[in-house]
């Protein structure tokens, strides 16, 4: 593992912990942006350049902007109230540990002995250029590609339906937020 990889991975993991750990959602969001960027870096290191770009644009860009927008809109403070109980935290970490070990164990065991030669060769083949991916998207995965448009459409319509309020009186409690169309 190269130094570069190590650093980026470390940033990714640290920022992931940050997302979970920061009490202020805004800090979490910024931490997540960092996390997504570091993942993009890992993609780039793995040779998936198209994905690395998409990751920055779609995730770190579009999605996170949306998240931040909503966060600002709702103008939220840190999580209030009771802290999470120690038992629950321990339980959660324990469960996480079990999942991590049971999932990663066989996975790592399976792929440790791949010969470097095949890997080198494969890396060449999986250079994620735009062209190669584009060919797949419009060839082998055309149906899925078309279907993904349906996913986006659902996203749009769904958001409209939930956010748009027609013929509905706002209760005083939600008065402040009436602005969202």
């Amino acid at each position: 593992m190269s130094f570069m990889e190590f650093v980026i991975a470390a940033i990714g993991i640290a920022s992931a912990i940050g997302v979970v750990g920061f009490r202020n959602p805004l800090s979490s969001a910024f931490s997540l942006i960092l996390h997504l960027l570091s993942i993009a870096g890992l993609y780039a290191l793995l040779g998936a350049h198209f994905l690395a770009v998409s990751q920055v644009v779609v995730y770190a860009g579009a999605i996170m902007v949306l998240v931040l927008f909503v966060l600002m809109l709702l103008n939220l403070k840190s999580e209030s109230g009771r802290r999470i109980g120690i038992v629950r935290s321990a339980l959660t970490v324990g469960v996480g540990l079990v999942i991590f070990l049971t999932v990663s164990g066989p996975m790592l065991a399976q792929f440790t002995d791949i010969s470097q030669a095949t890997l080198e060769q494969n890396i060449k083949a999986s250079e994620g250029g735009v062209k190669a991916i584009g060919e797949l998207l419009y060839g082998k995965y055309m149906v899925q590609f078309e279907l993904s448009s349906l996913v986006l459409l659902v996203g749009v319509v769904g958001a409209v339906m939930l956010a748009k309020r027609k013929n509905v009186q706002l209760t005083p409690r939600e008065g402040g937020m009436g602005g969202a169309k």
Binding site: R88, L91, T92, V95, G96, V98, I99, L101, T102, V103, G105, P106, A109
Partner: protein
């Protein structure tokens, strides 16, 4: 030989039962007449059948195929032979007299139709009992008379005690019936038939295994103890006096209670399979007879005296059964029917005349106001006391005599003791019967109001029976035993004839009478002295030997307790409680299961992860 008259013997009283109720509701007076006529008609048919009975032949009649299916053959058949003839004659003969008597006795009761209907039903049942060709058919009558007895004891049902007495009679009879059913089961499986003609054949009886023979014999005797009021099941009979007096006369003296004797006589082959059984019968009879006689001494209710006397006399009959003298026992049945019916009916007249007073302490001196009744009661008393030549003398003497000829290995060495004891009981009988006569008819009247003689419709049958009590024994003495030699084993002896024999045979009775006269008329003071000296005996006697209490403690109380425990503890907590518990537990677990759903997403996610972790941990081959 099929004979339709046989069917009519049974059916006429049955029809009478229906008609007397149906028509009696419209015209109450008609009920008694119809019922009496029905029984009399039945009597007529019995006599006509009896007269056409020759030699060893018999009549049968099949009413229905009843329990016949596949290879089971148990038709509803009735059968008339000499033994049945004797019983039938007594039942219908004495029965018609008592019916006639009841017309007078019940004249003022508004429920007459019901009464006569029951009474006729009883006659029909009793006839089925004595005519049944197979044990199940006998059982029909056996239970039928039990039912009628129950209904008639509780005839005045608005009094709870009377109704309870009826129930007691029925239940105690039922205990005996268990024996009947067991005996039927054993005999059916061993012999393949329950027909009495088959069951009297030695080669058939030989098929019964020995231990089963013992059980069958004991079981049959248990049945007889229930019906014929022997230890330990006799306490119902005194209580049965709650019924109208004609009922006591008919059912609880003359007919029904002798059904046990009849059964023993019919099934003597089974009884004698194992010699232990007769021994048991004899000792039970002896004890019953003695205890009943002792209790009778201290009773003040005139009907109770007669009731205990009946029990005692039934014990006497069983003594004869125990030694194998069945025709002697039956002879006593017949004479007992005469004099005991006469006694009861006379007592009924007394009660009727004294405005339903039954306590002898409030009677006395009735000889003046009711001479006819006094006469008949006196004659019957002499008969039961065993004074020659009254009827009771012959039968009682025959019994005492037969006791001397015991062949049973289990009894052989006790024959003197039994003979002596039986004589003592005979003395006792004479004593308490004389006592009751003295208390009722002699001295001066101690009650209120004016006692009066019964009307003719009552006195006439009483007189007929009194006459039979006087002369019946003498008339039948010799012919009876020979007559019954077909269906029953022959009896070795004949009651002592000749004047000397009469006098000697009457001695026990005379002793009893004399003692009673001495104590109650000549020297009443002596009575109290004796009472003081024998206080324990007095206590036992007047307390009826505490048999009811004993029974209550040993049988009824445990059953009560068991019943309570079963219903409250076992049933409520175990049977029903288990169901409730299972329901409760599943509901509680369900509640817990729901509690997982806290409504908070984080918890749900945690559960999801934990479950996934569990799945992974459990089902992955490598960890």
């Amino acid at each position: 030989m099929e004979d339709t008259r046989l069917a009519l013997v049974v059916l006429v009283p049955l029809i009478g039962a229906i008609l007397s109720y149906a028509l009696g509701r419209a015209a109450p007076k008609l009920a008694g007449i119809l019922a009496t006529a029905a029984v009399a008609t039945s009597f007529y048919f019995v006599v006509s059948l009896w007269s056409s009975l020759e030699g060893g032949e018999s009549f049968t009649f099949t009413l229905s195929s009843w329990l016949s299916f596949a290879d089971v053959k148990l038709p509803l058949e009735i059968y008339f032979d000499k033994l049945s003839a004797v019983m039938c004659l007594v039942v219908t003969g004495v029965g018609s007299l008592i019916h006639l008597y009841s017309v007078g006795y019940m004249a003022e009761d508004e429920s007459r139709p019901r009464f006569f209907s029951y009474l006729n039903l009883f006659i029909a049942s009793m006839l089925i009992l004595v005519l049944g060709k197979s044990l199940p058919v006998i059982f029909i009558g056996w239970e039928g008379v039990g039912l009628c007895s129950y209904l008639l004891i509780g005839f005045w049902y608005t009094n709870s005690d009377f109704a309870s007495a009826g129930r007691k009679a029925f239940v105690m009879n039922r205990i005996g019936d268990l024996g009947f059913i067991v005996a039927m089961a054993i005999l059916y499986h061993a012999c393949g038939s329950l027909d009495i003609t088959t069951l009297s054949r030695p080669e058939i009886l030989a098929r019964i295994p020995s231990e089963m023979g013992f059980i069958a014999g004991i079981a049959l005797f248990l049945a007889a103890t229930g019906k014929s009021a022997q230890l330990p099941l006799f306490t119902w009979l005194p209580d049965a006096m709650a019924g109208p007096t004609p009922v006591s006369a008919l059912i609880h003296a003359a007919t029904m209670v002798t059904a046990g004797i009849y059964l023993m006589a019919r099934m003597y082959g089974v009884i004698e399979l194992d010699p232990v059984v007769p021994a048991v019968i004899l000792w039970t009879a002896f004890a019953t007879s003695a205890i009943a006689a002792l209790i009778a001494i201290s009773q003040n209710d005139i009907k109770k005296v007669l009731a205990y006397s009946t029990v005692s006399q039934l014990g006497f009959m069983f003594l004869a059964v125990g030694v194998g003298a069945y025709s002697v026992a039956l002879f006593h049945v017949v004479t007992h029917a005469f004099f005991k019916a006469c006694l009861f009916m006379s007592a009924g007249s007394v009660i009727h005349g004294c405005h339903h007073e039954q306590d002898m302490r409030r009677m006395g001196g009735l000889a003046r106001s009711m001479p006819i009744t006094c006469l008949s009661y006196g004659a019957a008393t002499l008969a039961i006391a065993g004074i020659a030549p009254f009827a009771g003398y012959f039968s009682k003497h025959a019994i005492l005599d037969s006791l001397a000829h015991v062949h049973n290995p289990y009894l052989h060495s006790y024959s003197e003791l039994i003979g002596f004891g039986a004589t003592a009981i005979a003395i006792c009988t004479a004593f308490y019967m004389t006592r009751s006569f003295i208390l009722t008819f002699l001295g001066s009247y101690r009650g209120e109001g004016h006692p009066h003689e019964a009307p003719l419709v009552m006195t006439a049958p009483v007189l007929v029976l009194a006459a039979l009590s006087v002369g019946g024994g003498l008339a039948l003495n010799h012919s009876f035993f020979t007559y019954l030699q077909g269906p029953l084993p022959p009896v070795a002896h004949h009651a002592g004839g000749g004047t000397l024999g009469y006098v000697l045979g009457s001695i026990p009775g005379l002793i009893g009478i004399a003692a009673a006269y001495a104590l109650f008329v000549v020297a009443p003071a002596l009575k109290d002295t004796i009472r003081k000296v024998l206080w324990i005996g007095e206590k036992l006697s007047s307390g009826k030997f505490y048999l009811d209490e004993l029974l209550g403690l040993l049988v009824i109380a445990p059953i009560r307790v068991l019943s309570g425990v079963f219903s409250r503890v076992l049933d409520q907590s175990v049977s029903i409680g288990t169901g409730n518990a299972i329901g409760g537990i599943s509901r509680a677990v369900g509640e817990l299961t729901c509690r997982v759903t806290t409504g908070q997403v984080s918890t749900y996610v945690l559960w999801m992860f934990a479950s996934a972790a569990l799945l992974l941990y459990c089902f992955l081959p490598v960890r």
